[in-house]
Symmetry: C2
Subunit: 322 residues, 2 copies
């Protein structure tokens, strides 16, 4: 159900009560992100085989795509979700890394000629343009597999009961599988060049990108032993920001800056992709993103200041320009 306050949300405006949390403004968020991202990157660097390991081409390709300036939104959400329920980032680094590995594999496969056929991502040549299609495809396969290797290793999660680790790994596998992430991807491909209505558009994005975002927000908290009520609230928050993330992505493809984005704009339209601006128009898409951002923050009402990073992240994702 769409919930709407007394004031109509316009453009990028979010209601006043949804402004940055007191004491957690943009500079606090920046420090927060810098510190968490440094840990995630160090962890990812440590968990992947060195480039010098046989086969070198494969390991270079895996690292090329994994360390190509990604925003690391999913790992940050894992950590912020865990912290919101009193967990520590060190407890969930393996999980944060696993979700980034899965995300990276989907990007490599999406960019392949058989799918989106993209030459650039984040201002750099895509994996298959550098390493060839065969190695890129296999690098994606290996990154996905590596994610589940991490999630099967109790040494990466010393204080977590093994049955809870299995539970979280299962949640991730279901989210990444044929009835969610991969399924959303297939429906997205099948919808290219066709008339798409809002329910179908939301189906695509809830599955293709939303699922992994919801799982990122909840899985860290789940690993730290959060209760069902907290997990439900975090899932609702995740659903909202997942859609905001996609709407913003679609808007940036229409009105974003090529230099800032590091890729060509207008690609969705050329491909006849189902997008929010195409279905709702630019103005209504913006307004929906603002509304969903407010709803996301509302879902965190029962959480204390330890959820401030999640609140700030919702606004950050709404306002991003790349």
């Amino acid at each position: 159900m769409r919930k709407r306050g007394s004031e109509e949300l316009q453009g990028k405006t979010v209601t006043a009560r949804h402004k940055m949390p007191a004491g957690f403004g943009p500079s606090a968020l920046k420090s927060y992100l810098d510190e968490r991202l440094a840990r995630v990157n160090a962890y990812l660097d440590g968990c992947l085989p060195e480039e010098s390991r046989t086969p070198e081409t494969l390991h270079r390709a895996m690292r090329y795509s994994l360390f190509s300036g990604g925003k690391r939104i999913r790992p940050v959400l894992v950590i912020a979700g865990a912290e919101a329920v009193g967990g520590k980032s060190d407890q969930v680094l393996g999980l944060a890394a696993a979700l980034e590995l899965i995300h990276t594999y989907t990007l490599i496969h999406d960019d392949l000629p058989a799918l989106d056929n993209d030459d650039y991502r984040r201002g750099r040549l895509t994996c298959h343009k550098v390493f060839g299609e065969a190695v890129a495809l296999l690098a994606g396969d290996a990154l996905l597999t590596k994610a589940f290797e991490l999630l099967s290793n109790p040494k990466e999660f010393p204080s977590v009961p093994p049955e809870r680790l299995l539970d979280v790994a299962g949640q991730i596998a279901r989210t990444a599988g044929s009835t969610c992430l991969v399924g959303g991807q297939v429906v997205d491909l099948e919808s290219e060049g066709k008339q798409v209505d809002l329910p179908l558009l939301e189906y695509i994005h809830v599955n293709k990108t939303g699922g992994l975002i919801v799982t990122s927000v909840t899985a860290g908290a789940r690993l730290c032993g959060a209760e069902q009520q907290s997990l439900r609230a975090l899932a609702r928050y995740g659903e909202c920001i997942g859609l905001v993330f996609q709407i913003t992505d679609d808007l940036l493809d229409v009105i974003g800056d090529r230099e800032t984005l590091g890729k060509n704009t207008g690609g969705d339209r050329v491909r006849g992709k189902a997008t929010y601006p195409a279905v709702l128009g630019i103005s209504e898409s913006r307004s929906r993103a603002g509304e969903l951002t407010g709803m996301a923050i509302d879902h965190l009402a029962a959480f204390d200041e330890r959820a401030d990073p999640l609140r700030a992240l919702a606004l950050f994702l709404h306002d991003r320009d790349r």
Copy 2:
């Protein structure tokens, strides 16, 4: 080290003491295989989403490749390995299914135009020839992911302690990853059209196909709580039959029957693939396969008659014509 008995092994002959185990001849093996395969197939059918589930194309593609007359060697090895240490097939069906899902994903991706570009497998059009490259690629991704979904689900393994399930899942992920299966695949691709010596050839096959076969033989036993000594013996057995399997594969590509195989022969030579006949010649390849089959059976010396299916399988893999 190569071990050789007093008599030189010739052609397809294996030494007399390596003949079918008493009381477990070809007809007993056939009944054994029929019964186990029926269970594995029923389990696989039950664990995959129905074809009518959205997206239908994806689920049809997954099922098309999974139920295309595969020999199910890996699931049978899982079950036979478990039974050799006193386990029951029902305890390891989820594991047997997971290994077949992984095997099937590798076949779909290998057949893609970016890799081997094969139009036929087992006498049927390959997945991408029927469903297109994009859906085939994504069906492979989804099958790999489904394998880890099964391996994260304690309900599929009711009598297994969760830490043991994690241990087995980790072993499978390492085997399927960049330093084994996917790595072997990349080295294989990079070796096409080049002069390959025996050590490199064995590196490719130990990693590309051997690893998953060793893991199949040991993982079922491990899941049933086998001791280290038994697991080591089963691993040695698996290493030997893994190489036999590959040598036979290579030989069949040279001297096999197209109708029986369900695919064109001679493809390895056209592609300049590293193969045993190319490196050792046909006669020496046959002799090596016979020798390794004998060694495989020798490694089972400490097991009782519950390992007879493994013994019979070694001979079966050596003598197969498809």
